[in-house]
Subunit: 181 residues, 2 copies
């Protein structure tokens, strides 16, 4: 349970490879927040691309634009007391750091599931295609992922269960909120 | 005074030519909302371009992207009880109508100050440059402006004072909020 009596806005930024478990964990946390009546919003990288409805590529430029828009929107929402869950590969460390600096109560959650596990899972069949060179600029295969050096929370879904990941994050948030009060 | 007991989120979308008075009016309303303790946010087209920090052009494509991002962000904020004041030339009717359809409590405010008056004012010296062909794609000069056919509020700052514009808008909002309750 999140103990947020003053309804502090926050940005929970989930970064990590495709298939690492970012969206699964964020959805579980969103469900808890919903049941508790907290104000929250999910910003998912893929959904954002659809909603903006333009030909944003997956090269460095396209990815950075998508990440910037998510950061811009998440910042404004969090200023107004919303807990924003952003799920985005967001592979570039410098850009993540810049966004982190610009947002109060930014929590970087590194979903550090090993690439081999993500490839084994391959829920969307994308790794198979990327490994066959059918998808260009695929993070971890043909495009870089710059891991966070000091994430606020680091989780590996190949080692701990999704429920335990959620608990770890909620515990971190409660400690953070207690310090803010 | 805005009478918004349930803290309804809304999007006040100011459309009109450069120099029409969009930002001046929105700032006055923002000041009132601030003094009354209402949650509000200003999204200004030029500021948005700066904050996103990329080479978004002023051709049709660049303008539409900027407008889409503003619409996306304003929608999420208004869902969480924020009154969002968007000041954007937003010259394309179809795009404005699409955003209008996607947002609850969208108020289209057409700041219909005649082009000749905007040219006379020319606060930023942009019309002079546009008329000398030094700026391409300048709305009203070398780029189209598609006026709203049925705006919720229409104001002409060459005929009525800024304070009266503000009153007209606040009156409209109070009537709208009363109908929502």
């Amino acid at each position: 349970m999140l103990n947020n009596p003053k309804n502090q806005g926050m940005v929970l930024w989930f970064t990590g490879l495709s298939g690492a478990g970012k969206t699964t964990i964020a959805n579980k946390i969103a469900k808890i927040l919903s049941e508790e009546g907290s104000k929250y919003e999910l910003i998912d990288g893929d959904v954002l691309r659809e909603q903006l409805n333009w030909d944003l590529g997956f090269d460095e430029d396209g990815r950075k634009k998508n990440v910037n828009i998510a950061g811009y929107t998440a910042n404004l929402l969090s200023k107004h007391g919303v807990i924003v869950l952003v799920t985005l590969i967001s592979p570039f460390k410098e850009q993540r750091d810049r966004i982190k600096m610009s947002i109060n109560n930014f929590v970087e959650i590194y979903v550090n599931t090993p690439l081999e596990v993500c490839i084994q899972r391959d829920h969307k069949g994308l790794y198979k295609k990327a490994l066959a060179n059918e998808i260009p600029n695929f993070t971890g295969i043909s495009h870089p992922y710059e891991a966070p050096l000091k994430p606020d929370v680091e989780i590996d879904t190949s080692i701990i269960s999704i429920d335990d990941c959620v608990k770890k994050i909620i515990n971190f948030l409660n400690e953070k909120i207690a310090r803010l009060d």
